[in-house]
């Protein structure tokens, strides 16, 4: 009876083993194609017979599920063969290092739309005006050389040194012509900038692929603008920038709800008990960071020991040399140091001199 039972148990165990082994080996006619970088497995084997797949029955479901399980098993076996490492240090989870993906996935989002033409571009198209390529250098008659069209040492003469500004025919003789020229230049620049921003806004509103070009550094932006843009970029995450790591030289600043316009403080007569506990915790934090080994104290202790040894050795030598007369003369002055040295030798070396030990002048 017992023998039969034992045999039955062994047979059951063996069958279980076989089952397990069967479950991780999969037989396929054609090998699957793998792209482990995308966790992709392509099965080119012919699917089960169409008759078997017809009709939404449990048999169909079972067939499909078995197919999926087999393919997934093959993919996972391949993943286990990859080189592994521990993520996040020694105690972290075991992760596999995936190779570069080879399969080109189709676009996730629709392709970007071209930006709408600006007002000038529309006008030019209407009138048939075409861009004429300009030369980069222009002949300057005054300087008798080729100068650049704009920029440093440009062809038209240095505007800062233009000493003459003629009063035009119909103008007020009292008006300051230089001021007028400066004002007009400022207006031109401002109008140009306004139009550029309008075009940008129009393109952005039309939903084209221009996502607000100020967010792309052009090299012509000043520090404040870039800082503002960096702040916007940092806050444009799902957690509104709270867990965003800082760049090496970026200063740490707390997020302000008013966008940097107004500082907010605790109320004057707020919860005083909470304030006290916060301060105590801050003190505890600051205290715990102090180093346990104080270098200067260790150095001082060493110096004291050396001094004591030197004094003891010196004293011994001097006493033997001077004799009775020397000892009588020396006693009042020396007593402090000698007793000090003896006191030091008596105390254990590791204790140091705790508390306010006075020094006699």
């Amino acid at each position: 009876m017992a023998a039969v039972r034992v045999e039955a148990v062994l047979a059951a165990a063996e069958e279980q083993e076989a089952e397990k082994r069967r479950s991780i080996t999969v037989e396929k006619e054609l090998e699957l194609e793998f792209d482990l970088g995308n966790l992709l497995a392509l099965d080119r084997n012919p699917p089960p017979a169409a008759a078997a797949l017809r009709g939404a029955g449990p048999r169909r479901e079972a067939l499909l599920r078995a197919l999926a399980r087999d393919n997934t098993q093959l993919l996972v076996s391949r993943l286990w063969e990859l080189p592994t490492e521990r993520a996040g240090g020694a105690g972290g989870p075991l992760v596999a290092r995936l190779p570069e993906p080879t399969f080109r996935l189709p676009r996730e989002k629709p392709p970007p739309r071209p930006r709408p033409p600006t007002r000038w571009e529309q006008f030019a198209r209407l009138k048939g005006i075409r861009r004429r390529k300009k030369t980069s250098l222009v002949w300057d008659e005054q300087a008798k050389e080729w100068r650049r069209r704009w920029g440093y040492r440009r062809a038209g003469g240095d505007p800062a040194r233009a000493w003459l500004a003629e009063v035009p025919a119909g103008a007020d003789p009292e008006e300051d012509q230089f001021a007028r020229l400066r004002r007009e230049k400022r207006e031109r620049v401002a109008r140009n900038e306004l139009n550029r921003l309008r075009n940008l806004a129009r393109a952005h509103r039309a939903g084209s692929a221009v996502p607000a070009a100020p967010l792309h550094p052009t090299g012509h932006q000043d520090r404040e603008e870039l800082r503002r843009v960096a702040r916007v970029a940092r806050v444009s995450t799902a957690s509104l920038g709270r867990f965003q790591p800082r760049l090496p030289k970026e200063p740490a600043e707390p997020p302000s709800r008013s966008g940097g316009r107004k500082r907010r403080f605790e109320p004057l007569l707020g919860n005083l008990a909470a304030e006290r506990s916060r301060q105590l915790e801050l003190l505890r934090d600051m205290g715990s960071k102090k180093p346990v080994l104080d270098i200067t104290r260790a150095v001082n202790k060493q110096m004291r020991q050396e001094e004591a040894e030197a004094a003891a050795a010196h004293k011994g030598k001097k006493q033997s040399q001077r004799g009775k007369r020397g000892r009588r003369q020396q006693r009042p002055g020396r007593s402090g140091k000698k007793s000090g040295a003896r006191r030091q030798q008596q105390k254990p070396a590791g204790g140091g001199s705790g508390g306010g030990r006075r020094k006699k002048a």
């Binding site: 403080f265 605790e266 109320p267 004057l268 007569l269 707020g270 005083l272 008990a273 304030e275 006290r276 301060q279 105590l280 801050l282 003190l283 600051m286 205290g287 104080d294 200067t296 104290r297 001082n300 202790k301 110096m303 004291r304 001094e307 140091g352 001199s353 508390g355 306010g356 030990r357 006075r358 020094k359 002048a361």
Partner: protein, 180 residues
């Protein structure tokens, strides 16, 4: 008047800690009442809750000084301890220096303490440690920074500076206008 921000509190406690070490807890957490720090026109004041409630109802322009001024924040946000904090530093001071009667006056006029004027110094004072200066009768005169550690003080020549002057009670007379 407003409470200190965390950075400001940290700066103040670090400065105070240089003189009184971990005894700041006794200033923050007092058994005889709730005391707190408040900032008014860049100066840090230490006042009791009762006084705070009274001072809260005074308009900012008319308020001169609520409580005891511990010091002020400079334009570059560094905290500078002033002599008016001496009453609170002296009882809790960790490292003390006693000055001989002869050079008391020199210290009260704003000069540094020389080795010849040094009466006593707490053992194991480190160099550049914050110290409170007393007269030989244990009257607090001011505070400063130890220029030499106790060990070096013993070896150095009599005209060397042993304590850098930072504040003394003579400032109550000298800088009467600028103290609050």
């Amino acid at each position: 008047m407003r409470p200190l921000t965390e950075a400001e509190t940290r700066a103040v406690f670090e400065k105070l800690g240089k003189y009184i070490g971990e005894n700041i807890q006794l200033l923050v957490d007092r058994p005889d009442g709730t005391y707190c720090f408040r900032l008014h026109r860049d100066r840090v004041y230490y006042l009791s809750e009762k006084l705070l409630k009274l001072a809260a109802s005074i308009p900012r322009d008319s308020l001169v000084a609520p409580g005891t001024c511990f010091g002020k924040f400079t334009k570059s946000q560094k905290f500078r301890l002033s002599v008016t904090a001496l009453d609170f530093l002296a009882p809790y001071a960790k490292y003390k220096v006693w000055v001989k009667p002869g050079s008391e006056q020199s210290f009260l006029y704003g000069n540094h303490v020389l080795k010849s004027g040094l009466g006593r110094i707490t053992e194991n004072t480190a160099q550049y440690q914050g110290v409170v200066v007393y007269s030989m009768a244990d009257v607090p005169l001011g505070f400063g920074v130890a220029a030499k550690s106790t060990q070096e003080c013993r070896k150095v020549d009599p005209l060397a500076i042993v304590v850098f002057h930072q504040a003394d009670v003579g400032e109550y007379v000298r800088n009467e206008d600028t103290l609050t």
